[in-house]
């Protein structure tokens, strides 16, 4: 079951979304809501479960909306509904962040798309990097309990399902270089500029 009906934001659509969620619960499936969110770094696809935000994808860099939803359906639940109202908090906090009015996110997160303990350790360490600060792959590797594993740390960061909110853009190479970024280096730099980070690149 994968539903992408139009206009689920109000009235009839909201009722349909609620019925779909109830049906998903009866069938033992996680009800997953998604919404597209425009931002200064391109359109994003936000995906949430009842536990919280599970996926925030750069739409174009991930093959488009259908590709993002197909991946979520395969890895999380096929019970997906377009329900922008369910993601109002995500949209609002992102808008505030990009407007320079928010320095941290208060969103509940669902780590269901994080598959292994090492990757989860890397991403949780990354989530603790404060706004305006940066870290390095080596420091994150150490915080995740594997000080030598900076190559694996880079890979784990590349699999971050919730970029921006889990700020993997704040992780730089030890020499001060940008390193890499799942959304492309231009976006990484743009996010760091928004945050006023000092860069030696």
């Amino acid at each position: 079951m994968s539903l992408h009906p139009p206009d689920l934001e109000h009235g009839h659509g909201a009722a349909l979304a609620a019925r779909t969620a109830a049906r998903a619960a009866r069938e033992g499936l996680a009800a997953v809501s998604y919404a597209q969110v425009d931002s200064p770094v391109g359109r994003l696809v936000a995906v949430a479960t009842p536990r919280g935000l599970a996926r925030l994808a750069y739409e174009l860099e991930n093959g488009g909306l259908d590709a993002v939803l197909d991946d979520v359906a395969a890895r999380l639940s096929p019970a997906i509904v377009e329900a922008p109202a369910q993601l109002d908090d995500v949209r609002r906090e992102l808008e505030e962040y990009f407007d320079g009015r928010r320095r941290g996110f208060d969103l509940a997160l669902d780590w269901a798309l994080v598959r292994t303990p090492f990757t989860e350790g890397v991403l949780r360490a990354t989530a603790a990097i404060p706004f305006g600060a940066t870290s390095t792959y080596r420091e994150i590797a150490a915080a995740a309990g594997s000080p030598a594993a900076y190559r694996a740390t880079g890979g784990a960061l590349g699999s971050n399902p919730i970029p921006i909110v889990v700020p993997c853009h704040r992780v730089l190479a030890s020499g001060g270089g940008l390193g890499g970024y799942t959304g492309g280096l231009e976006r990484k730099l743009a996010l760091l500029v928004i945050e006023g980070s000092r860069l030696d690149v």
Partner: protein, 87 residues
Amino acid sequence: MDNDRSQAYGRVVKTLADLGPAKLQGPEQQTIRTAADALFFEGDAYDELAAVEDLAQVLVDAGRLSPERARELVDDVAACGPSAGVH
């Protein structure tokens, strides 16, 4: 499966054979082989790659492997995966 990954996997297998049990104990060989297999066949096996990086550091610290050889080994294991280390 692209050719670069296949070649990297081949280099890992050759390194394990070259080092042999005189240089690497059985569990250490297994750690490396498991990571190469997981990266090659499954992709994002970062836990396994982290284990190899930690092991390589231990071997260097113990004087059992040169830093250069350890770096080559880690690079080859990482290159068995589709995108390891490109973040």
